[in-house]
């Protein structure tokens, strides 16, 4: 029973209280690139969940035999191969999905979240907990992606999954789309706002300031 709760915690803690994106700020490059619409965010979430869970399991299986000196290379090779194999598989059997997914392949391979979890957790734990941890982190990542993707699509285009939510002004409605929402910086703003909101509620996540702000204004040279 106690064992079961640990697995449950491993799975659920990365969702909010230890979310990889908002707490560890991992994997945000893809969070910026693929969140212009909810559909792409969802696709990326599913792909990353599969890759991260499998990679964590595989690396955990051989964890006792990976020489420390080249562990990062071994991890990258395994992750990259996994991503390619899955992409090839999708191109053969799920052609429609692969048309939107193939662009993200490079993003998954270089996603620091995958590396981060295999390096921090899968390398020291048996396969099953490692896979649970991978799944939990991937789901936490997906939550943030879905949130940002939804906000950007609704306010940038006035629609969700291609269905109009806010009627656009140039089509007789009242909503003027915010073009900024479709550009990369808006994802930064949304993520920043999300991190701020979460840390306002969960104050234990707030990090200590590394630098104290200066007391008085120095004259600019």
């Amino acid at each position: 029973m106690a064992r079961g709760r640990t697995y449950w915690q491993t799975l659920t803690r990365p969702l909010l209280s230890e979310n990889p994106i908002t707490l560890q700020i991992l994997g945000i490059c893809s969070a910026l690139a693929v969140t212009t619409s909810l559909a792409t965010a969802l696709t990326m979430s599913v792909a990353l969940t599969v890759v991260l869970t499998l990679a964590a399991g595989l690396i955990s299986v051989i964890r006792r035999h990976i020489p420390d000196t080249m562990r990062v290379i071994v991890q990258i090779v395994i992750i990259a191969s996994l991503v390619i194999v899955i992409d090839q598989f999708l191109q053969a059997y799920f052609f429609e999905i692969s048309r939107t997914l193939s662009i993200f392949v490079a993003l998954i391979t270089t996603n620091c979240l995958v590396m981060g979890r295999t390096e921090a957790f899968a390398r020291h734990n048996p396969p099953f907990p490692a896979m649970v941890d991978g799944l939990g982190n991937a789901l936490g990542y997906s939550l943030v992606l879905i949130f940002v993707g939804t906000m950007r699509e609704v306010f940038g285009k006035g629609e969700l999954m291609g269905v109009t939510v806010l009627p656009l002004a140039d089509q007789g409605g009242w909503f003027t789309p915010l073009s900024l929402m479709l550009l990369a910086p808006s994802a930064f703003f949304l993520l920043g706002g999300l991190v701020w909101a979460i840390r306002s509620v969960m104050t234990d996540q707030v990090e200590e300031a590394e630098f104290a702000p200066r007391e008085r204004q120095e004259a600019a040279e």
Binding site: V77, S81, V85
Partner: protein
């Protein structure tokens, strides 16, 4: 002394300290070998299915493109519902003598059938172009009423492949369909959306003086030679402009277009 039982040898290998040089090198080989086999295996085994998928996709897009052009469905029916496929020699603009659609693939695999492009004339950033190309023609009483011309060019994220439909005068665009691209989703990736492609039909390519004036505008199209731009995707828009200009110009289908306009085809 040599251990002959492979199972025991394997155990002894696993029992070596991870830091030993032999185990490090052996692990590197083992991991890369397994990964290489997995990747190449998946690629080789699945390739026939993928090729079939891609061919079906391109065919479906060409059909959708033809059907989307106003009045074209009736025309197709009148001509028996079939587009004729012709392989043309880009240099002369005439039908290629020794290449048929069936062995086009073999011809394109031969480097001798490709021409390197000078930097000045290589608008689409391709580096080289094939000497032969397969086009689809629709005839109405002997006259060509529609020509589908496959075009490609370097985009922002990778190569863009498209099919451009020209009306019988070979100067008015009847439609475009993007068959492959790797542009940023939501920005340049919108070139595959119908909404953007809808601004192509009716656009003219050459001005009265014969110069190519087609362009993807910044913002809304302001003349008959322009199509709407895509916000936030200037590089992709420019790539489409250069791609269309290259393929309709003298290095692309130019000779073929002139031959059709002279009524020689």
């Amino acid at each position: 002394m040599a251990e002959l039982n492979p199972l025991t040898a394997w155990r002894r290998f696993l029992a070596l300290p991870n830091e030993s040089r032999f185990k490090t090198v052996a692990m590197a080989f083992a991991v890369s070998a397994v990964c290489a086999v997995a990747v190449s295996g998946a690629t080789v085994i699945l390739r026939p299915i993928q090729t079939a998928n891609r061919a079906a996709e391109e065919q479906a897009r060409i059909e959708a493109l033809v059907r989307g052009i106003p009045g074209m469905a009736d025309l197709l029916e009148a001509s028996g519902g079939e587009l004729s496929t012709v392989v043309i020699d880009l240099e002369s603009g005439r039908a290629a003598q020794d290449v048929s659609p069936a062995d086009l693939e073999a011809a394109l695999a031969d480097p001798a059938n490709w021409t390197a492009l000078e930097p000045g004339e290589d608008l689409a950033d391709l580096g080289q172009r094939p000497d032969v190309a397969q086009v689809y023609l629709l005839r109405e009483g002997g006259e060509i009423s529609l020509a589908l011309l496959p075009i490609s060019g370097q985009g922002y994220g990778g190569r863009i492949d498209a099919v451009l439909a020209m009306q019988g005068d070979m100067n008015t665009i009847a439609g475009i369909s993007v068959t492959r691209h790797s542009e940023t989703p939501g920005l340049g990736g919108r070139i595959e959306e119908d909404g953007w492609q809808a601004s192509f039909p009716g656009t003219e390519v050459r001005g009265p003086d014969g110069d190519i004036r087609f362009a993807v505008a910044r913002g809304k199209a302001s003349s008959v030679y322009e199509v709407d731009g895509i916000t936030g995707a200037t590089r992709t828009s420019n790539a489409v402009t250069r791609m269309v200009r290259f393929w309709l110009g003298p290095e692309g289908y130019g000779p073929f277009i002139e031959a059709v306009q002279r009524g020689e085809f």
